[in-house]
């Protein structure tokens, strides 16, 4: 089976994000990482690959030159091949899904496609499903357990607190990973060395007929949210402070 994992490169979770010109962020001081949910996707894809002899795992990433580092991370963890869709413009979700679908469709034997349930930059929560719909295949989102049994994908996804849905899908399909699915491995030294030697395949947007003129969602403005004014420490012994706190919550904050 040809397994795929779609990854996105995003700013580190601890990074401060500053708006540059109202529509983009200041990238100068940012450390880039693979989006955390995509790491669960990579790990699950590797586990599946290890179970199926002669299977192949391809990582796909869309973005500017710097995203090759994200692909190197996936390769170092154990992916066999990497495809970089070169893109320096902003594509909307549908257009991004179309671009990824075009790349994956080039492979007639694609099987399970893994990705994170959301990327932690645009927090769109939809790309995996749009990709599946574009390819005409089923998708499950927020997946916390995955199994392949007799050519069927069986997953469990969290719905509300502690409640889960069990889902069955035929292969090919898209599986969107959530935290709790697995614990992503660290790349081994050997993996890192090996990853350096793999040639990353490059595909341009024009080769797959995608451009931003087809966008229907337009970003008008990025802004920093208003900061909360600093609160106050309630002084005194614990019992007195607690008493005062509850009074403030009732009379001042009016949340009780």
């Amino acid at each position: 089976m040809n397994i795929y994992v779609c990854v996105k490169q995003v700013p580190d979770t601890e990074a401060s994000i500053l708006v540059k010109d109202g529509k983009s962020i200041n990238e100068a001081a940012i450390k880039w990482i693979v989006s955390p949910y995509d790491e669960y996707a990579i790990e699950e894809a590797l586990k599946l690959k290890e179970k199926i002899p002669a299977s192949m795992l391809t990582a796909v990433c869309l973005g500017p030159e710097r995203v090759q580092n994200a692909l190197r991370t996936a390769l170092a963890m154990g992916a066999d091949r990497a495809v970089h869709v070169e893109c320096t413009v902003a594509l909307d979700y549908q257009n991004t899904a179309r671009a990824l679908a075009q790349v994956i469709r080039m492979d007639k034997d694609f099987g399970v496609i893994f990705m994170g349930k959301q990327a932690i930059d645009d927090d769109a929560y939809q790309l995996h499903i749009l990709l599946a719909e574009e390819l005409g295949i089923p998708a499950a989102t927020n997946v916390m357990a995955f199994a392949l049994e007799e050519q069927k994908v069986k997953v469990e996804r969290e719905i509300d607190e502690g409640a889960r849905e069990k889902i069955e899908m035929a292969v090919p399909c898209v599986v969107a990973a959530a935290k709790g699915l697995n614990t992503p491995r660290y790349a081994s030294m050997m993996g890192i060395m090996k990853a350096k030697k793999v040639e990353i395949k490059k595909i341009t947007l024009s080769e797959i007929g995608i451009d931003e003129s087809q966008n229907r969602i337009r970003l008008l403005k990025l802004s920093a949210p208003a900061e909360k004014p600093q609160g106050r420490i309630i002084p005194g012994e614990p019992a007195a402070a607690v008493h005062e706190l509850v009074r403030l919550l009732r009379e001042e904050a009016k949340v009780l």
Partner: protein
């Protein structure tokens, strides 16, 4: 004139409270509003639905949630009623259903909206885990928006007009993504993303067994129990309890952070809480810069005192 559609989510037949937020948003627009419900009988919900144009009742032998069938049914409704805008709740089901609907209805979706301008087809949503806000506009086609619970103020309507009820048939086509079973939670936990009050614990909880003191406090407040990533990674709490960038984004009116240092990872998951209370032994903990009220002290002393004080307050 724009036709506005709303997906009214029912959970085990119960009208979700965030549906009222959507109704308030839509009624204010002054445009015709069409609310879609998958139910065998609309009667229990009609009081909630006053002051809108149409109630579209989806009927069928089996109305259990199957994403493909729901999405195809709603895509047909969008087409039949020529809906320019269609909104739903950013709930577990909304996250699953609306992207499918976007694809099937050839529409575009902006999810997790904090504010929606229906006239301009614009919405404000958090990006970079809430470190920034993005304003998006959907230029063409049907515009779909899912709205974060607890954000839009509910306004009771004076308009008493009873909507016309029309029915459409539930799609019964093939299932690509097939839900075979729904496993209910063993405990009746409160959904954190919709909770009005949340009590959360961090690394200073020291162990799994100590979460009982938070659960006791939560019981008094009818609150949900959350945890920081540090607490989840240390095995003190399960991952479904995690609040933060790689966990749940919550939006209660009161958030009580106990023994949580306040790393940005956690803060972005709860910063829109109306009131944040922090309890921490370390007066230098960053959480105090972000909290509305803070108590410097040992959570194992403070939390039981809080429970008693709230018990008095609530009785």
């Amino acid at each position: 004139m724009a036709n506005i559609g709303l997906y009214m989510e029912l959970k085990d037949g119960v009208f979700k409270k965030s549906n009222r937020e959507l109704l308030s948003l839509a009624r204010k627009s002054g445009q015709p509003v069409h609310a879609v419900l998958f139910c065998q009988d609309t009667q229990p919900y009609m009081e909630e639905l006053k002051g809108i144009q149409t109630v579209v009742q989806v009927k069928g032998a089996d109305l259990s949630y199957q994403p493909d069938r729901y999405a195809r049914t709603l895509a047909a409704v969008i087409q039949e009623y020529k809906l320019d805008i269609f909104c739903g709740i950013f709930s577990a089901q909304g996250k699953d259903l609306f992207p499918r609907l976007a694809a099937k209805a050839k529409a575009s979706l902006v999810s997790d909206c904090l504010a929606v301008d229906l006239d301009k087809r614009q919405a404000l949503k958090p990006v970079y885990s809430g470190k920034l806000l993005a304003e998006y506009r959907i230029d063409a086609g049907t515009a779909l928006f899912t709205v974060r619970p607890n954000v839009i103020a509910v306004e009771t309507t004076a308009a008493a007009a009873t909507p016309e009820v029309r029915t459409v048939a539930m799609d019964s086509g093939e299932l690509g993504t097939k839900i075979t079973e729904v496993l209910k939670s063993a405990s009746q936990k409160i959904d954190l993303t919709e909770a009005e009050i949340i009590v959360s614990g961090g690394r200073a909880m020291k162990g799994k067994e100590n979460f009982i003191i938070l659960e006791d406090l939560a019981k008094v407040l009818n609150a949900g129990v959350g945890a920081s990533r540090a607490a989840v990674d240390a095995g003190f709490a399960t991952s479904d309890m995690q609040v933060g960038q790689t966990g749940k984004v919550v939006n209660p009116k009161l958030y009580v952070a106990c023994g949580i240092s306040g790393a940005i990872q956690h803060f972005v998951g709860m910063k829109t809480s109306k009131i944040i209370v922090a309890v921490n032994k370390d007066p230098e903990a960053p959480i105090f810069k972000k909290a509305d009220y803070g108590i410097v002290g040992d959570l194992f002393v403070v939390v039981p005192l809080l429970k008693e004080e709230f018990r008095k307050e609530m009785s």
